[in-house]
Amino acid sequence: MAILETRALNKRFGGLHVTNNVDLALEPGEVHCLIGPNGAGKSTLFRLVLGEHLPSSGQILFDGEDITAFKPFQRIRRGMSVKFQVPGIFKALSVRQNLEIAMQHHYEPAHLVAEIGRLLDFLKLAPDADRLAGNLSHGQKQWLEIGMAVSLKPKLLLLDEPTAGMSPEETHATGEMVQRLNADGMTVLAVEHDMAFVRQVAQKVTVLHLGQVFAQGTVDEIVADERVAAIYLGQVAETAHA
């Protein structure tokens, strides 16, 4: 059974049909990448899945349960979590407190401090633990938000452009982290424009275009697809980090 499934999902903003009859199914344990041109509707699809937007029509199922009408927090509690495209952190709180707020209901109070410490190390934010999160650099904010999302130990992790603003090195490290989480059984759905990252982690790729599923397959199949190259990748897409 699919862990996440959308059925004939539609979203309109005024005259704009942004999500157009999307059927998408995620198998448990897979790393699935969602790519597509700017404005294709990727972030919108995320927001629909998370309940930030309500669909104009269609259904969303999570773990077999129809969650279409659920409030966002209810969906999170059933085992999703998310890193947004624009970093969403608690700017006026310390990095440590950011993590504490994320983790306090998922760990025993006795273990909380140690767990936070481990995560801080993992995120390479230990030296910055007591700084205000709002004062981190852009990339550091991305890391912090990924850390918060991961700390919920979700079944399904949604990542919207997790590596935007990261150096190739860090992008790679993020990829490795995704792979590790996946190895522990987490399902991941990631939106990315960085094909190196997609190539590194994706087991399956869906291309969204004009709100519709445009193509689907393995990374190799997608990269080889000339139609995808035409709308999205361009000619010399793949030389650098292949």
């Binding site: 294709a40 990727k42 624009v86 650099s137």
Partner: protein, 237 residues
């Protein structure tokens, strides 16, 4: 023959409320050059850009633009001298329409001419399509295109680009690189580029500073840029 220096800093120091980030930076950007600045996350690349445009004050050192010390000038004055700035994270005006965002971009030049607007819209056709959409409801990549277009309409003589490829689909990244290079060739517009995307750096930059912990730790000339491995090493310092 070397062109004249358009922008230079000497011993530039800047930071946030008493916390120093830039630790005495000397850079030189010559007329009609495309210079890249690279470095890991948090080393101070964006801080450099912000202090060049004047969004944070220089605590020490000087910034000379067109032979004139500008480090004490307010941001809007520097903009009026011809500096354009595309920030990291886009910062479009969310409740203004696309068209109004473009109009604000042209403010320093006293208005947007028909020709400039058409030129920018031809670079980014989505902006024409969404002329009356509120910028805050555009997708991330669309906003990034708007942020770039908004600066280009005013024909700045120096553009500060902070990670312009962020969030942009691969083929448009290539387009942007191409547009910038063409612009540079055609009008002599000078560009300072902060990027993590090696392809883009290589496609655009003629020279490159490597930044670490608020200091310049290396300067790479054109040929060094060709060496992908070396570049990657520097980005991972």
């Amino acid at each position: 023959m070397r062109k004249e220096v358009l922008l230079s800093t000497l011993g530039l120091r800047a930071g946030y409320g008493g916390k120093p980030v830039l630790q005495g930076l000397d850079i030189e950007v010559r007329e009609s050059e495309i210079v890249a600045v690279i470095g890991r996350n948090g080393v101070g690349k964006s801080t450099l850009m912000k202090s060049l445009i004047g969004l944070i004050p220089a605590t020490q050192g000087s910034i000379v633009y067109q032979g004139k010390a500008v480090e004490r000038l307010a941001a809007h004055r520097r903009a009026r001298l011809g500096l354009g700035y595309v920030p990291q994270g886009r910062d479009v005006f969310p409740r203004l329409t696309v068209g109004e965002n473009i109009a604000v971009g042209g403010m320093r030049a006293g208005g947007v001419s028909e020709a400039d607007r058409e030129r920018v819209l031809s670079y980014f056709p989505i902006l024409r399509e969404r002329w009356n959409q509120r910028a805050g409801t555009m997708s991330g990549g669309q906003q990034q295109q708007l942020a770039i277009g908004r600066v280009l309409v005013a024909n700045p003589s120096l553009i500060l680009l902070d990670e312009p490829s962020e969030g942009i689909q691969p083929n448009i990244v290539q387009d942007i690189a191409r547009i910038m290079v063409e612009l540079n060739r055609a009008t002599g517009t000078t560009i300072v580029l902060v990027e993590q995307n090696i392809d883009m750096i290589r496609a655009m930059a003629q020279r490159c500073y490597v930044l670490d912990k608020g200091r310049i730790v290396a300067e790479l000339e054109r040929d060094a840029l060709a060496d992908g491995e070396a570049m990657r090493r520097h980005l991972a310092v």
